[in-house]
Amino acid sequence: MEQAAIAPPAGGAHASTPVHAGHGEHETSTGVTNTKLAMWIFLSSECLLFGALIATYLLYRGRSKGIEPADVYNIPFTSATSFILLMSSLTMVLALAAIQRADYRRTKIWLVATALFGMVFIGGQVYEFTEFTRKGVTVDTNLFGSSFYLLTGLHGLHVTVGIVWLLSLWGLTTQGRLQQKDSETIEISGLYWHFVDVVWIVIFTVVYLIPM
């Protein structure tokens, strides 16, 4: 079931190395590594998680009594933070590209940039939450409040975990413990980060932009 790697053009000295399950014993049956497969399965399950939360939000947006999204949303502000998160996906994938060619300096730069953008996004979320609270939307206010905070709060938690992860990877790279051969570690964290961004793409569209 293994696919042959595409032969690199002349000059390259590498066919795809046989994929080891982890202990150098033998190749994996599918040709993909255990960790990458595991991360994709985990991300697939997260689709169900965020799907439930988004569905709940959609169900309740029309039934919520009292203060409404339109009363509190600051679309320009949220657009700006969404833009930042999108750019963080770019820096993330540039970090991966950098470590794949052993450019450790840029790896660290892009990793820190991604984490920084993430922190700005979270800062934006915190600001948004405080603004909403000030305007009278809290978890217990109404259906809108409950479903909004659960959805975006859980998303923010995911982003925060991602930021900590990225900073840890930056630390490891600084100590020299993350090298080109460990590119997949960055790739896995990148998959997580992009997924969190993808969820925000959906949230931004469905929660903020789509009219009632």
Binding site: G22, E25, S29, A38, S45
Partner: protein
């Protein structure tokens, strides 16, 4: 020798890496799938007893009209904990335990894909179970039903609906257990897809592994949904959110949808392992291959997919409207098809076979019969007008006990008898086994068959007593008697397990003349590294094909050297360096050493680790912090989790 300049070594952690793979303390740090499996099964059997005691209390209360054994409130706790225990602390862990032991052995691997994660998954079950049960003394055990319908469970404490901490322990405890289930499921999927031995294509894989693959997918996709539902319940109850608050426009039915979106796949998660076990035992005890292997596999996959489309059949009387109700009725009828197909395939397996009616076979045949009865009552439920009468009565209780007890538990019991020699090199006591089977069968039917009648006569579920003169007395008494017969049977089973471990008849190599690779190992129990050499697989039922071929007239002919690494009687491992691959580093070999290469092959096994159990200890701390809203505890728990996670991530998987 070149000078090797190495990256500066990581600071020695406070704990030196544990090395031992034998001894009592090694169990706490083990990453060996076989030991983890035994821990899963042992814990699950303890919870079987606890859940059984809860059931006995229920039955005592209902033995006669106007029972006084339990108050209403206590009764609610009993049926909640009975259900929660049997589903989450007995059924799933036992299935995962079987999977843990057998999957690597059946696919020809040395361990699962993520050994430390595997250990972590087990400790979650133990700590989560203890967490749930500690609620009895810490503010009240869960009492909102194992399904926890809102708004009863989500109503804030201050409004007095369910006083005490029961629902909070329940939501937090189940989320905790869900984390462990999800990690185990991911582990199994990656193991099965990625770590099969050379030549072991998916269609050569034992049916048990296939069923566990489907189960793992169901788990991974269903757990997030219930996590969301439970979180909403906790929020409503503690943060005064409005998800299920009708006054604010919330819809309690949303909870039911989310819960059953999880709950229905959950019941397939429970039954498919039993089907897998039975699919392994029947061919061996009939000396015939499984009839229609591909069809059985595809039916399992079909059940996995269709199982997502039937959930609202648990909600037929909630006012869904005729369109929804008809659609789900249809899908429920549809799912009977692949299920029925499997039954016929099992019958076809046994038909014309050379049958050995030993205990594993008896339980497997019992499975087919009992599960079929349960399936028939299930099909009756799929007919909406009929279900409108049956729902929330004992008819439903009868149905799901027939499929879960008569199905999963019968399968598990059979599996215990069947694979016991693999784990311990000894048989369980066969006479006692047969007595256990008959007592189980009789007790089970005496308990649950009357419930079909009681349900149709109107006895409602989840009510702590019934009045005199309803006509329920005699059958309830019969059910109570039956439940104690079951208790005796379970007791016999446990005694059998405990005694046979040391004193059972010694089992020869491949005692059942089996068909799959787990029996081909060099010793029972298998060595830590499972196989001397990674098996090369050439056929389905690989072990059988190594042992037998057929002559022109189709009769079995035993092959001369078929089947085993080193046929040795009993449990003693005899390891010899295998000359065929160059002898490795030759010389003396240390069996069951801590992570050392064995058999002269330099087999590299993952090393034991403290961090699965240490990190897992953070979970109940967080749990208590959340239940009692003590943020210091919560922060401490999170700290333990984070420290444990970092230490784990930075530790190499083997040293």
């Amino acid at each position: 020798m070149t000078t090797t300049l190495t990256v500066p070594k990581v600071k020695r952690s406070i704990f030196r890496r544990p090395q031992a793979t034998t001894g009592f303390r090694s169990w706490f740090t083990t990453v060996d799938h076989k030991k983890i499996a035994i821990m899963y099964a042992t814990t699950a059997l303890v919870f079987l007893v606890l859940g059984g005691i809860e059931a006995l209390l229920i039955r005592l209360q209902l033995a006669g009209p106007n029972g006084t054994v339990l108050t209403a409130s206590q009764y609610n706790t009993m049926f909640t904990m009975h259900g929660t225990t049997m589903v989450f602390l007995m059924g799933m862990p036992l299935a995962v335990g079987f999977g843990n032991y057998l999957i690597p052995l059946q696919i020809g691997a040395r361990d699962v894909a993520f050994p430390r994660l595997n250990a972590f998954g087990y400790w979650v079950v133990l700590f989560g179970g203890i967490f749930l049960y500690s609620s009895f003394v810490l503010g009240g055990a869960p009492n909102g039903g194992w399904f926890g319908y809102t708004p009863l469970t989500s109503s804030p404490i201050s409004l007095g609906a369910l006083p005490g901490r029961g629902p909070d322990f329940w939501t937090v405890g189940l989320i905790m257990l869900g984390i462990g289930s999800t990690t185990s499921a991911v582990n199994f999927i990656v193991t099965i897809l990625n770590m099969r031995a050379p030549g072991m294509t998916l269609m050569r894989m034992p049916v048990f592994c296939w069923m566990m693959l489907v189960v793992a997918f169901l788990t991974v996709f269903a757990m997030p949904i219930v996590t969301v539902a439970l979180t909403m319940v906790w929020w409503d109850r503690n943060l005064m959110s409005n998800f299920f608050n009708a006054a604010a426009g919330g819809d309690p039915l949303l909870y039911q949808h989310l819960f059953w979106l999880f709950g229905h796949p959950e019941v397939y998660i429970l039954i498919l392992p039993g089907m897998g076990i039975v699919s392994e035992i029947l061919p061996v005890m009939s000396r015939k291959p499984l009839f229609g292997y591909s069809v059985v596999v595809f039916s399992g996959i079909a059940i996995g997919f269709l199982g997502w489309g039937v959930w609202a059949h648990h909600m037929f009387v909630t006012g869904l409207g005729p369109v929804a109700v008809s659609a789900f009725s249809l899908s429920t009828m549809l799912i009977a098809i692949p299920t029925g197909v499997k039954i016929f395939n099992w019958l076809g397996t046994v038909w014309g076979g050379s049958i050995r009616l030993n205990t594993p076979m008896l339980f497997s045949l019992g499975f087919i019969a009992m599960f079929t009865i349960g399936g028939l009552s299930g099909v009756l439920h799929s007919v909406v007008p009929a279900d409108t009468q049956q729902t929330d009565t004992y008819f439903v209780v009868a149905h799901f006990h027939y499929v879960l007890f008569g199905g999963l538990v019968f399968g598990i019991f059979g599996g215990i008898f069947y694979w016991f020699p693999l784990l311990y090199g000894r048989f369980m006591n066969e006479k006692l086994g047969k007595v256990t089977f008959w007592l189980t069968l009789i007790g089970f039917n005496l308990t649950f068959f009357p419930m079909h009648i009681l349900g149709l006569e109107g006895q409602a579920r989840r009510t702590y007593r019934y009045a005199e003169g309803m006509g329920f007395d005699a059958l309830n008494l019969a059910a109570t008697v039956g439940s104690f017969v079951i208790a005796v049977a379970v007791l016999l089973l446990l005694v059998n397990i405990l005694v046979s471990r040391r004193h059972g008849a010694v089992a020869p190599h491949d005692p059942w003349d089996a068909r799959s690779l787990e029996w081909s190992v060099s010793s029972y129990p298998p060595p830590e590294y499972n196989f001397e050499e990674v098996p090369q697989v050439e056929a389905r039922d690989e072990l059988w094909h190594r042992k037998y071929t057929e002559d022109e007239s189709g009769r079995l002919v035993r092959l001369p050297s078929g089947g085993a690494d080193a046929p040795s009687a009993g449990a003693v491992a005899t390891l010899e360096p295998d000359a065929r691959d160059g002898g490795g580093d030759g010389g003396a070999v240390v069996p069951s050493g801590g992570g050392h290469g064995a058999g002269g092959h330099g087999i590299h096994m993952p090393s034991p680790s403290y961090f699965p159990i240490l990190m897992c200890a953070g979970l109940p701390v967080v749990g208590y912090g959340v239940v009692f809203q003590n943020w210091y505890l919560g922060a401490l728990g999170v700290l333990i989790l984070i420290v444990g996670m970092y230490a784990w991530a930075l530790e190499p998987s083997s040293e």
